[in-house]
Subunit: 360 residues, 4 copies
C-alpha cells in the first residue's frame, strides 16, 4: 500500500526529531520532506540535526536534504514543530495553500476556528474544520493544533470524570527538560536543582484545558466553565510530565468508581483502532509511589496516560497524580494521531488506510 508523503516543519528540533522517529514505521505516512532553519537548509539531515534521541536518525531521513522554511512543499500532509514566532503565519499560509497542517506549535492554538484536537477527548471538535474552511474560504487545507504537553495528562485524566461535573482544578506540574526543546535548559540549572517556573505554561494550562474539554455546538467551541489554578515547575527528568492534580466535582463518586471509570475508559470508534492509539488510553497504577516519569512514560509506546495516588483532598475533594510522555503523547504522537483521525474521517485526500481503521 503506497504511503502518503508528509513534510516535517522544524524537523531538526526536539519535537521534529520525535516526529521522524515515530513515523519511521508508520503504516500510512512516510517522511518525504524535512524543513529546517536557514542555518540547516541545504545540509543532509544527519548533518544538520544534533540528534538528541537514542541511537541515530532513520537512514533514509539521515540523507535527506533539509529544505528552508520558504521553499515550496509538495507533501499534502504537514506536521509542524516550528517555534512559535515562525509558526504564526507560515502554518496558516500552508493551510491556505491546501495542505493539511497538524501543528504542535502554540502560535495558533487559541484561534477560535482552530481545533485543539485530542482524539480520545474531543474528536467531535474536528467539525470545526468545516467552520474554519468556510470562514477562511479554504477548499481543502486546514490547520489543526494539539495542546501544550503539560495539559495532556490533565485532560486525559479528567475526560472520564466530566460526567460528575468538574468545577475546580488545582495543578502543580513537575516537567521534564525535553519540554523546553534542545538545547533548552542548561545542565548548570538542572544538576542538584529544580526551577519553580516554566515560561508560559501556567497560562496555557488554564486556557487550553478549558478549550479542549469544551463543547462544540456546530459553530464554535464553548469552553468548559471550570476554575483552574496551575503552577508549573521544571525537574531534572528527561521525558515525562507529571501533574499533581486536586479536583472538585459536583457529585461525590466513590474513589473506586473513579478508578473504574479510568481503567475501563475507551474512546468511541474508530479511535481505538487508529495506528497510534493505545487500546486503553489510561492506566491506573496501584503502587503508592507511582506514576514515575522514567518508569511509566513509555506505557502504550508513550501514548498512554498513567494515573496513581487517588485519595481525599481536604480542600477540593479528590487528588491524584497523572503522567504522560511529553514529546510523544504530549507533542508529536498526538499530532500524528490527529492526522490519523483526519485520514479516517476523510479529510485527507489520497491517503490509503487499512480497512480495520476506517470510519464506520
Amino acid at each position: 500500500m503506497p504511503k502518503l508523503d508528509v513534510a516535517i516543519l522544524g524537523a531538526t528540533g526536539a519535537v521534529g526529531q520525535r516526529f521522524i522517529q515515530l513515523l519511521e514505521h508508520h503504516p500510512w505516512f512516510q517522511v518525504s520532506e524535512v524543513i529546517g532553519s536557514q542555518r540547516s537548509a541545504g545540509k543532509a539531515y544527519a548533518e544538520a540535526a544534533h540528534w538528541i534521541l537514542n541511537s541515530n536518525p532513520p537512514p533514509d531521513v539521515s540523507q535527506r536534504r533539509v529544505k528552508a522554511l520558504d521553499e515550496p512543499i509538495t507533501s499534502p500532509l504537514i506536521f509542524s514543530a516550528l517555534p512559535k514566532e515562525a509558526a504564526i503565519t507560515r502554518e496558516l499560509e500552508l493551510a491556505e495553500a491546501g495542505h493539511i497542517v497538524c501543528s504542535n506549535a502554540s502560535a495558533n492554538r487559541m484561534l477560535a476556528d482552530v481545533p485543539l484536537l485530542l482524539p480520545e477527548v474531543n474528536a467531535e471538535h474536528i467539525g470545526l474544520v468545516e467552520v474554519q474552511r468556510r470562514k477562511r474560504g479554504w477548499a481543502s487545507g486546514t490547520l489543526i493544533a494539539n495542546s501544550n504537553c503539560t495539559v495532556m495528562p490533565v485532560v486525559m485524566a479528567l475526560k472520564p470524570l466530566l460526567k460528575y461535573g468538574v468545577r475546580r482544578l488545582h495543578l502543580v506540574s513537575e516537567q521534564a527538560v525535553s519540554g523546553a526543546g534542545y538545547p533548552g535548559v542548561s545542565s548548570i540549572d538542572m544538576i542538584d536543582n529544580i526551577i519553580p517556573y516554566v515560561p508560559g505554561d501556567e497560562q496555557k494550562m488554564e486556557s487550553e484545558s478549558r478549550k479542549m474539554l469544551g463543547y462544540f455546538d456546530g459553530e464554535q467551541i464553548e469552553t468548559l466553565d471550570m476554575l483552574v489554578s496551575a503552577t508549573c515547575t521544571r525537574v531534572p527528568v528527561l521525558d515525562g510530565h507529571l501533574v499533581n492534580i486536586s479536583v472538585e466535582l459536583d457529585e461525590g463518586p466513590a474513589q473506586a468508581s473513579i478508578i473504574d471509570d479510568w481503567t475501563t475508559w475507551q474512546a468511541p470508534d474508530p479511535i481505538p483502532s487508529l495506528p497510534s492509539a493505545p487500546p486503553y488510553p489510561l492506566q491506573y497504577l496501584d503502587q503508592i509511589d507511582r506514576p514515575q516519569p522514567r518508569r511509566d512514560r513509555d506505557a502504550g509506546r508513550g501514548m498512554m496516560t498513567s494515573i496513581g495516588r487517588l485519595r481525599d483532598c481536604p480542600i477540593l475533594g479528590y487528588k491524584f497524580a497523572a503522567l504522560s510522555h511529553n514529546t510523544v503523547r504530549g507533542a508529536a504522537g498526538c499530532s500524528i494521531m490527529n492526522a490519523e483521525l483526519l485520514a479516517v474521517e476523510g479529510y485527507i485526500e489520497g491517503v490509503q488506510i487499512a480497512e480495520t481503521a476506517e470510519a464506520t
Copy 2:
C-alpha cells in the same frame, strides 16, 4: 568561656552528621559524646560514620569513640537524630534522667506536652516545658522537638500572614533526597526520575503545621483551625525542600503588603541574637524563577527561608513557593537554635552564654 558538653544521639546518620558539622564552631556548645548503633559502638567516629557531607568530619570528633545507645550519657544537653523506633522510649528516659533533650525525631512530636518548637514562630510554646515537667514529675530534664523538615518552610512563610486569618492551605512539595537519610533513596530511583510519594510526610504536613501555629494557653496547645491538603514528592536534589503553597486568607491584603510582611519580619528579642538565628528569617526573591534549591538553600547559613513567585491563585487567592534547607533549618539547625533559646531562657543549667544574647 567554657562550653557546655553535648551528646549527639544517632550521630553517624545524615542528621547526626549535620549536628556535628553545625556545632563545630558553636560559641556555647561542644560535642563531647557521640552515640550510635550497636554496629558503630566502640569504633572511632571517623571509622563508624560514612561521612556524607563535604570534606571530612572535624578532627576532634573523628577520633572520638562512638558509644552505644544504652551507655550512660554525662552531657547535660542532648541532640537526638535517632530513627523513630529508637527514639520513642530512649528520649523520654533521658529527659526523665534530667537531660535537656532537643529532638529531631518524629517519634514524640505529637505528644500533647512536647512543644514543637521553632523559635521565630512559636517561642512561647516553650512554656509547655513547665507543664511537661509538672505532669511527668521531672525536675530538670525536658524533651523538646522540632518539626518535620518539609513543614518548616511552610510555617515560616505563614507566620507573618497569620494576622490575615489563614483558612485553607494547599501544599505540593518537591523534596530533596537527604530528607530520607543515608543511604535513603537509591540512585536507581532518582536518576531521570521523580517519586510522587514520601512516606508519612503528607500526614505530618497536615498535623504538625497546625500544632506549630497553634495557641499555647498556659496549659496546652490549641491547634490552629486550618484546613491543610498536602502532597509530597521526591526529586533528584541533594538538599533543600521546596513547597508550592496556595493559601486562602480571611482578609485580602495586597500582594505588596504580604511581601513587605515577609521581608521586614523579625522575631522578638532575644531570638534574632541567638547564635544560629539569621537577622531576618525570610527573604523574598524577585526573580521569577526563584527560589531554587541549589541556589537558595544556603541563605543565612542554611537558616533562612526563601520565598518567591507570589501571585494570584484562582482558587484559594494567593500562591507562592517557599524553600528551606531541610537538614539545617529543617532539622539539626533548628534543634540547635531551640537549645539556644532554652539556654537564654534559663532552662539549661551550667551553660554560659554571651551577654548580648541573654534574655531581657
Copy 3:
C-alpha cells in the same frame, strides 16, 4: 513448540529482574520458578520484588510464589543472579544435582574448570564443560559463568584485534549505578558527584579479561599474556558502562583497518542466529562524541557493543571508547545467550529449538 522451564536464582534483585524481563517473550525458555531470599520466600513475586525496571513485571511472573533458596528446584535450566556469598556453594550443588546453571555471580568465575563464556568471543571455551564434568564426576549438570559487566565491552572490542597481538591495555571505566544492584548506590553519593572507585572491579578487569581471551587447549584455559591496568569509577548514569581504552598492539594496523575489523566482525555459526544475538555484535560510531550511555546502550536490544573515538595514543598507540549495556549484555542477556549456545550445542536435554538456529 513447548518451552523449557527455567528457574531464576536471586530473582528479585536488579539482575534477576533483567532476566525476567528478557525472558518474557523468549522463543525457547520460560520462567517457571523464581527463587529469592528468606525475606521474599512465600510472597507473590510482584509483592516481594521492588521492580526497578520500567513498567511492571510480566503478569504471569507477578503472581508466581517466590521460593526460598533451599527449596527443591525442578527446572532443568537455572539462571543465577545470586549475591557472591550465596552463590559459592549453591551453584555448585545445583550443577552437581544435574542442572544447567548459567551464572552471573562472581563467586565461581575464576575456578579453573568454569568457563567464562561470551559466545562471540570464546565459544570454544564451552569444551571446558566436558573437563568440568569429568573432573567432578557430574553426569548432566554444569556451571557456566559470564564475566563482570565492565569487562564485557573491553573483550568485545578487543576480540577482532587479537590478530594484531594485544600486549598492553590501559582501562578507565565510567560505570552506571545499576551495576551495584538495588538499592546499591545512594542518591546522596550520586547527585552532582562521581565516585572514583568501584569495589572489586579493577581486579576483575585485569583477571577476567585475560581468562576470557585465553586459549582453551582441550584441558584448560591458558590465559592471554597481556598487561592490564584498570581504573573503575562510578558515574550518575542508570545503565551502560563506558570504558576508555588505550591499547598497545604488536603490529601497527591503520585505524581504518581496525574500524573495518570491528564493523564487519561476526562470530562463526551458529552464534549469529541465536535468539539473543545481534547480527553484528559491534558498531563503530563516527560522531566524535559517541558512544554515550543513554543513547547507545540499547543498540541491538542491549546486546551490541558500541565503539567510538579511535585515535592515536602517544603512549600505547591506539585509544578508543567502548560501551555495553551492563545488565543486558553485561549480565542477564549474556547468561541467556550462553544458555542458548549450550542448547544449540546439545548440552541441554529436552530443550526444543527452532531449526534455523541449530548447530551445523
Copy 4:
C-alpha cells in the same frame, strides 16, 4: 587601605561571575568595571547577567552598568574571562595600552612570550614578563595567562614529583559541566548520560602541561620533555574536574614517599601568604573512594587540589586521582592569585598590599 580598581572582561559569563564572587571581599582588589557583550552593554549587571552561582551577585556589582568590549577601561588591572575569539586581539591591545591583563582565555596561552602562570608550580615564569615587554615594546602592561581548568589538578599533583623524573603521563578526565560555560552543556545531554569528548581539551592537556612544567631559561620556556596521552570526558557534575592519572617516573620512590611529598609540599615565599593561597596546596585523602567532586572541590576555599587512590599501575608504575575546582583553582581563582603574585613582586603600580605578603 584603598583597594586597586579592577575590570572584568566577559563579566556576565560563568567564569566572569566567579571572578566577581571571589573578589567580593578581596583585601587588595575591588571590581569597578564589568565588561560584557554588545547585548549586555548598558544594562545593570544584575539584569544583564543570568547569575548561575548560589545566591545573588554582590549588591554593589549588581547595580553597576555593563560596558561594551570596545569602551575605554580605566582600571589598571584587568581579569579576562572572554571567549577565545574575542580574547585574541583585545587582550593584547589592553596589555599594550598599559594594563595588567590576567587572562583565563585560551586564546593567547601558547604564545611563546606569555607565561602560563600557576604560582605554586612555576612562579619563576613571571620573568617572561620582562621578555614580553622588551620584545613587544611595552612599558608597563603585560598579559599573563592561566591554563585550561583540567590541566590544573594534573600539574599541581605532578610538581612535587618532578624530582623523580616524569617521563610518561596517561590522563582520563571526568569534567564538570561548568567548564563549558553557561548555558554550555544542555541538560538533555547530561541526564542519565556522559559525553566521552570535550572539544579541544585533550590537545590542551598535552601542550599546556608541558609548558607549565617547563624551564624558564631567562629568555624562553623550554617545555618539559614528557609524553602525554589525554582523554577528556564530560559527566553530570556541576563543579570539579577529576583526572585519573597514570605516570611513569625515572626513579621508583615508595608510595609512602610520594604521599609525603604531596602532603608536605609548600610553595616558596611569598606564595603561601598570598590572599588566595591555601597554606598547603595539596591534600591526600586516605579514604579509598576519594577525591569526589562534590565533597572535595571546595577544599581550601576551592584552591586546594585533592589527591587519592595512589597505587601501582601495571603499565606506567603509579596511578592516582586528582581533583580541583575548575572555576576557582582552574580559572578565576588562579587568575586572581596570579595577579596577587604580580602585585607582591612589584609588577602592578599603585596597588597597596599588606606587609605580611610582601616579597622578601
